[in-house]
């Protein structure tokens, strides 16, 4: 667990992620609710913007380093840094050290930062030892494994474990859950037709399970999948897994759906 003083709450710095900040702040509030509900003290450093992935994956190491230094400095002093995204958490945890491998003076600080970074759901189960949530969701859901979360951070069993504890929710395994949905950051606009086919295949797999709800832990994947599903006129509710676990699904419509009461 953390090395905070016995009795004082765990101090978590929330890395909101640019997509959650811009498109769906409710996911950020769901994260806060879950973390505070587990006894953490959550702060949101104001100097955060982006994790630097767009620059990093486009080959601009220089700009990525500047952004990374900004992130590391903004999140100094927290027991943990938690992000509701496998791809942003993966960037901070596994790629920042690689980024600064050629700066031996700064690297220890980077590694010390990186090892405190966690993706939200796996933080709840692996660090806070949460085994269930108090939430209700009436529906049949299927879960897509976002690639970075799965392969960089080992997030697989944890969301399934917590989802199985949600009252009223039936979880069906998604065939090809570990196959990329086609988002890939800038990939989806650089190679849109390939991306769309991948998204289409993913939605077809989800629909084939008979689920009415598609969940994942990364908003990039979710915007992509929701956008494809609604363009195809499918009746599929797409949500971030945190919304379900935090019992907030009554407060906002699924992704891409109209505000309707």
């Amino acid at each position: 667990m953390s090395d905070s003083v016995a009795g004082s709450p765990i101090r978590v710095g929330l890395f909101v992620t640019c997509l959650v900040d811009l498109f769906r702040p409710s996911v950020g509030f769901a994260a806060v609710k879950l973390l505070e509900g587990a006894g953490c003290r959550v702060e949101v450093p104001a100097a955060q913007t982006c994790c630097g992935q767009p620059a990093y994956n486009s080959g601009d190491r220089a700009d990525t380093k500047v952004i990374a230094r900004q992130v590391i400095s903004a999140f100094a002093g927290f027991d943990y840094i938690v992000a509701p995204s496998g791809s942003c958490a993966g960037m901070l945890r596994t790629h920042y050290p690689e980024l600064f491998a050629d700066e031996p003076a700064f690297l220890p600080e980077v590694e010390q930062f990186a090892e405190r970074v966690h993706e939200l759901v796996s933080f709840l189960t692996d660090v806070l030892k949460m085994e269930r949530v108090a939430a209700r969701y009436d529906g049949v859901a299927t879960y897509h494994d976002s690639c970075s979360g799965l392969r960089e951070l080992g997030v697989r069993a944890q969301p399934r474990q917590l989802l199985r504890s949600v009252a009223g929710l039936t979880l069906r395994e998604l065939p090809g859950a570990d196959v990329c949905c086609g988002f890939g950051g800038t990939f989806c606009v650089k190679y849109p037709d390939i991306s769309e086919k991948m998204a289409s295949d993913k939605i077809a797999d989800a629909a084939a399970t008979g689920a009415d709800t598609l969940l994942a832990g990364d908003l990039g994947c979710l915007l992509n999948m929701a956008g494809k599903a609604s363009r195809q006129g499918r009746n599929l509710r797409v949500r971030h897994v945190a919304e379900v676990l935090a019992d907030m699904t009554g407060e906002l419509p699924p992704i891409g759906a109209a505000e309707r009461r």
Binding site: G52, G59, K228, A258
Partner: protein, 474 residues
Amino acid sequence: MQATSHEFKANAHKALGDRNLQAALGILKRDFPGRRAAAVDRLPEFEQLRDEGRAIKNHTLAHLDLYLEAFEQKVTSLGGQVHWAADAAEARDQILAICRAAGARTVTKGKSMISEEIALNDHLEKNGIEPVETDLGEYIIQLRHETPSHIIGPAIHLVKEQVADTFRDAHTHLDPARPLSEPRQLCDEARALLRPKFLAADVGITGANFLVAETGSSIIVTNEGNGDLTQNLTRVHIVITSIEKMVPTLEDVSTLLRLLARSATGQEFSTYTTVSSGPRRPGDADGPEEYHVVLLDNGRSAMLGTEFQDMLRCIRCGACYNHCPVYGTVGGHAYGWVYGGPMGSVLTPQLVGVEEAGNLPNASTFCGRCESVCPMKIPLPKMMRHWREREFERHLQPPVYRAGLAAWSWLARNPPLYRLATEIGAAVLGWAGRSRGRFRALPLAQGWTNGRDLPAPEGKTFMALWAERQKRAR
């Protein structure tokens, strides 16, 4: 082989509309991953073997010059000949010279990606020698004048009806009304046709899955037995191989062989794994009188000591192809040269230049599935990113794209301005999309909205809402 990798986007677009290809890729995506997973599950030591395989190859690469010399010494002591080819042209010329000296009219060929890389068949044909591909998949694409679309199954992009059409068109001496609807019939027809060609060939050319320094051996791995009939029935056996196929000992290669078939097809072991060492021995009942190994560099030595060195560990199993969602969507021909999928995306820019092949390492989501199944633990996404870094340094990316990224990075480095821009963006888009909850079209976002809706933002940014919440709490 002339590269068309710069046309990747157009190639990919065509591939998406090719119904036969999509059906064929569907079979590949459905079958290959499960077969590999089952084989891996069956071998508790598999992960350990991956680590050992990586260590064997890293050690070999760190001493490649010495192992090549040891190999050459051994081959020569057995009565074989080693030829060193710095590039494709040299290799072609050396092979042609050997064939000419042997008076070759026809040459049988086992499957060899290196021979594709150096465009050997064209060269032989131009010089009056007929190359006969004997691997069933290679035979099919030779008839179709196509290139292989996968390093294990060259004709995997075809459905059986296309193969039947090809055989009917090519095998005109056979009854046009004969049934050819099943793979069994196609296989039998190819077997009957190729058997006399094996027996009539003057020279047999194979590749090498591995070279063994300890014994001066070349190893081929097939399921059909065509490589064996190629290298054993002629007077002259030529092995065309790149230098990084080297492995130190028989024990080391046994470890790699355990990884190869399981990763490639999910088999415990390929049907035929053949270790050939030099020409026939005095007293042998059969075997070639001449054994030539053409060692090709063609850019490999330039990769050592660079950030692309790990790519030299590749044992050409094809697992990365079979698990890549992009390959599974566009197939091998879209990549425009010899090697496709993730390994092709790393190797092709190295061998044909990043100006020609820059699209390949960019057409990846970095999902990482390739690296997770690579028996040699090659960090493929990392090396694709390195190619993007090289492109960035050389300003090879489209200017609009580069400018957009620069703008985003600049904003990201300026939190107060970032806050302002995102609040405006969220408000405008949130308001515009409030009734529907999504956009069917959006100016400047056609890349997204052509094929997908764009969900509308909630209207306020998290950071703004959080600031409000903090204020209320005070």
